[in-house]
Amino acid sequence: MKMGSKLAEDVVSEIRKDYIMNLLSSGRRADGRDFEEYRKIDVVVNFAKRAEGSALVRLGETQVLVGVKMDIGEPFADTPNQGVMTTNVELVPIASPTFEPGPPNEEAIEIARVVDRGIRESKAIDLEKLCIEEGEKVWIVFIDIHVLNYDGNLIDASALGAMIALKNTIVPGSKFGYEDFPLPVNHYPVAVTVAKVGKTLLVDPCLEEENLAEARLTVTTDENGDIRAMQKGLSGSLTYDEVKKVINMSQRIGKEIREKYILSGD
């Protein structure tokens, strides 16, 4: 049970829980998927035309819209020759009866920070190419993730949407007296989340599975299969063997998703 969390009010009835757990023990999931099977992904690129880049991602019934906006500002003092990126997640009340209006709660902040970490640590964006005048003027990349429908696994949907939006972002130089240019994106991290329900590891949990999960692990890998970020969530525990299994799954599934949904436009 999470504290201060409206998400926690999503409950699964005991009879439904028994049903799902029984299915799992016979090797099946309630929606018919295999344990390591991702839901269907559907992407609409440049959905929001006022954004510098955007992507609408549907992951099963989960829907997130990611928009990238750019502005010019000052760099951080410790990185005077690099652009700045920030990631924000809005769990807007349209997405679930349990979401409330207001400033980002801890769930939203966690999702944003996990997505941000994957992009930042894999050096996906070439931030040095976003420097205009060292120490004075750099491009700022705002990644805003708008959750439209919540049916579980917001981290993966958000991370995928963010990468596709970034890859399709045109830096609006002409608005500021420079030239437009495509956002320099060099690496393609993919986050894959696995939920532990009972003793079973379920890739890409839907909402119901998330609500039954004791623990959750997100592993973000790059195109070499190296690990760039990890985040465990929820109060249950994982053995190191389970962690290793999740890393393996993330490498394999991450590769498929990267090729099919991020690199396919090339």
Binding site: I109, R113, K232, L234, L238, Y240
Partner: protein, 248 residues
């Protein structure tokens, strides 16, 4: 952060910037029962980290709508003092501390028998007074001590420990320079008796083999830190017993 050219994290003898070997922890000191008003408390010095934890509860949870009718809610708050870091930290929760509070709360909920205290909150205040990398793992290590000091039933203590990568080498327990200029950080918290992982985060760049190496280093130091925790608790309660005797 980019590493300045003149900083070398590993010297020609294969020793780290503070003279440690790759698999060596920083000095750790723990004390329990350091605050008179709190129900339980602990103070940990871990390298240059100074972390104070106070536990209040179990007590009736406010605001009431956050109560859980079947169990207690463990609510940890990780907070850095403004003067705990070189560049003054603006007081109050920022996004980092909100995230850390969340993952620490979740990890501690794993060990507390929350079902004994319906509708209660167990508030764990983690105050970082001086920071030197690894504050979350030192904080959770201290927090579990403070919970034990408060007499809250738990299935085990929690041991936090981090490993990371600097100049291409996997090393245990990063210090500040290593954290700033290193390539990866892997903070972990485990239950020492079963080695179950209750907190796990990672950022940076590591291969699967390097993660393996790092986890191995962490797991090897868990028992040592666990012993320090138990010693700290024993010292406290031996002192307590003596105080009672003197009072008679």
């Amino acid at each position: 952060m980019e590493k300045p050219e003149d900083i070398k994290l590993i010297d020609e003898n294969g020793l780290r910037i503070d003279g440690r070997r790759f698999d060596q922890l920083r000095p750790i000191r723990m004390e329990v029962g350091v605050l008179s008003r709190a129900d339980g408390s602990a103070y940990v010095e871990w390298g240059g980290n100074k972390i104070l934890v106070g536990v209040y509860g179990p007590r009736e949870m406010y605001p009431k709508h956050m109560q859980n009718p079947t169990r207690a809610v463990v609510r940890a708050r990780y907070n850095m003092a403004a003067f705990s870091v070189d560049e003054r930290k603006r007081p109050g929760p920022d996004r980092r501390s909100i995230e850390l509070s969340k993952v620490i709360s979740e990890a501690l909920s794993n060990v507390v028998f929350t079902e004994y205290f319906p509708r209660a909150s167990i508030d764990v205040f983690i105050e970082v007074l001086q920071a030197d990398a690894g504050t979350r793992v030192a904080g959770i290590t201290a927090a579990s001590l403070a919970l034990a000091d408060a007499g809250i039933p738990m299935k085990d203590l929690v041991v936090g420990c981090a490993a990371g990568k600097i100049e291409g080498h996997v090393v245990l327990d990063l210090c500040k320079e290593e954290d700033n200029y290193g390539e990866a950080d892997l903070p972990v918290a485990v239950l020492p008796r079963t080695k179950e992982i209750v907190l796990l985060q990672m950022d940076g760049h590591m291969t699967v083999e390097e993660i393996d190496q790092a986890m191995d280093m962490i797991m090897k130091s868990v028992d040592y830190i666990y012993e320090l925790q138990k010693e700290a608790l024993r010292r406290r309660y031996v002192r307590y017993a003596e105080e009672i005797e003197e009072g008679e």
